[in-house]
């Protein structure tokens, strides 16, 4: 991507509260899109760059949400709650990674799914700790440097700052030697091993990066809603974020952001007409997998290059056949 285009895009985004027609409603939607985009960017490190599809990512996202909510509800200072939420979620990510990285491909997917379901089950059933279906509700957002984030625009800028930092971090990671090695483990795990790379460790670190992004996004999701409920941990949430990644385009930096905007935009539009968002979500999911498996960003780029051209051969390992 051209630096100029990125700068222009970020500037347009930063000025969004000034030009959005819908006022604070639209500004709030934009904040949500950025939160989910960070979540999806993190998952994309696994799905796109490591070739590992995690269906338990909501477990990490929601865990950060719950830790922060529980601590804030118990009267802990906001900054301690934030650090604890991210720290504990990183620990949980490491546990997930150790268990899930016993396999790749389908077994990785299944173990992450199961781990996510465990976290969901705990939140749902361990009522004395988590409030069960009622979740944990608080009524304060943090006020960094004395600036209240209670209204839409200040919250938007706090989220924007977080978004830019996380985008920069993910960009830096993906282009670092470690990020390149991670792609190597996706495409040619055996050769990478033969070349002396510790394939397991590289994947483990990739998982931690992904978990870190999920934790930060989960924390901001909690700030936005001032609420943690089992829904954020559910398989539907994991499915939604996977959809964002593959709808936008795995292994691209722009893809997950476009995917997040697309999914949340659809959700916003559909929900105002019909009550059946999950039906739409499933239908989009199936349609994307069947008809545009490479995702919107690479798909549109292909169409722009040569209208009517045949789809490019799928990248090995990214999303599909796993190389041996």
């Amino acid at each position: 991507m051209k630096p100029l285009a990125i700068a222009a895009g970020l500037a347009a985004l930063a000025a969004l509260p000034l030009w959005m027609p819908g006022g604070s409603y639209d500004v709030n939607i934009a904040s949500q899109v950025m939160i989910w985009a960070v979540f999806a960017l993190g998952l994309n490190v696994l799905v796109g760059y490591a070739g590992l599809v995690s269906l338990g990512q909501a477990g990490l996202f929601g865990f950060a949400c719950y830790v922060a909510a529980w601590l804030v509800a118990a009267g802990t200072a906001q900054w301690i709650a934030a650090i604890a939420a991210i720290g504990f979620t990183l620990v949980l990510s490491a546990v997930f990674a150790v268990l899930a990285l016993r396999g790749t491909g389908i077994s990785f997917l299944m173990i992450t799914l199961t781990l996510g379901e465990i976290v969901w089950g705990i939140a749902q059933r361990w009522v004395s700790l988590t409030g069960g279906d009622n979740g944990i509700s608080v009524s304060t957002r943090p006020a960094p440097f004395g600036i209240s984030l209670d209204t839409a625009t200040p919250f938007f800028y706090a989220t924007f700052a977080m978004f830019v930092v996380m985008l920069g971090l993910v960009w830096r990671f993906v282009h670092s030697p470690l990020g390149v090695a991670l792609r190597g483990t996706r495409d040619q795990p055996r050769r990478m091993g033969a070349l002396g790379y510790n394939v397991w460790l590289i994947r483990f670190l990739g998982f931690l990066v992904s978990g870190f992004a999920a934790a930060v996004a989960g924390l901001f999701f909690f700030y936005y809603n001032e609420f943690a409920s089992p829904y954020v941990l559910s398989l539907t949430t994991s499915a939604e974020v996977v959809l964002m990644v593959i709808a936008g385009g795995a292994a691209t930096l722009l893809g997950p952001i476009v995917g997040a905007a697309l999914v949340l935009g659809m959700q916003d539009v559909v929900s105002s007409y019909v009550a059946h968002w999950n039906l739409m979500l499933g239908a989009i999911f199936v349609a994307i997998i069947l008809f545009m498996p490479e995702g919107l960003v690479p798909g549109l780029a292909r169409l722009a290059r040569r209208p009517g051209a045949a789809p490019a051969a799928p990248r090995p390992g990214a999303f599909g056949r796993t190389p041996s």
Binding site: V53, L55, L99, R102, G103, T104, G105, I106, S107, L109, M110, I111, L113, T114, E117, I118, G121, I122, Q124, R125, W126, V127, S128, L129, S234, L235, T236, A239, V242, L243, I246, H276, W277, N278, L279, L281, G282, A283, I284, F285, V286, I289, L290, P293, P314, F319, G320, R321, T322, S324
Partner: protein, 286 residues
Amino acid sequence: MNLWLILAVNSIALGGLLFLLASGFSLIFGLMRIPNLMHGSFFMLGAYLGVSFLRLGAGFWPAAILAGLALAGTGAVIERLLLRRLTGKPQAQVLLTLGMALIVADLCLMLWGGDPIEVQTPAGLTGVVPVFSVVFPTYRLVVVVIAVAIAVALWLMLERTRLGAMIRAGVDDPQMARVIGIRVSRLFSIVFSLGAGLAGLGGFIGGPILSVYPGLDQDMLPLALIIVILGGTGSLAGALVGSFVIGFLYNFGQALFPDLAYVILFVPLLAVLVIRPQGLLGKLAP
């Protein structure tokens, strides 16, 4: 009758239901190498369709058979029209079943509403029968008998028929099976349809025990996953053992540690993953 015996009886009945769910899941997993994430949806859809057949005037057992057949048909259609297009891309297939699960869940909510539906125990099976010194509710006993009968039938089919031999060949080595002229893709349709039908049947005959409600699919899918990881994929005996283990853990866990019942279910699973991953998951690692 004391609490423990009641729990044990309930556990056995739940184990039988879980076997109907997990046997198909395990066969699909063994042959097609994908966890079918809409298996819980088949279970729930079967239950709802059976309820509708009941309301249309069908008897309990005809409704159960119709629900099973309807789901078998649904499974065959999904395999033919959707999964077949993604042959060779297991991750895309899994995500497709996940998308379909979301669709089915919302469709059921649309068509049958959000309130739980109680299914009446069929007349004549509401009493209890004494088995040794235990008083066993008749209907639960019937469920166990059905599950055992289906287990025996599946075992005979797999071990004693030509189709079963072909399925076993497909599970062990799909490429070699193709080379010697077995149409493995046709086996996929048969097994997927069979698994869906069994899940649908299980969902409906589980109705009088579990009732039917939105979210039943999400409650059952993790159980199927645990059972199959515990028992080993593609193994009928594994599914049988796993079903009863989970049936017991679920009921006893809920009675003893209600807050942690769900977590207790996953303990054996994590133990298996940590201690014997190669034994139970090694086969499906690419």
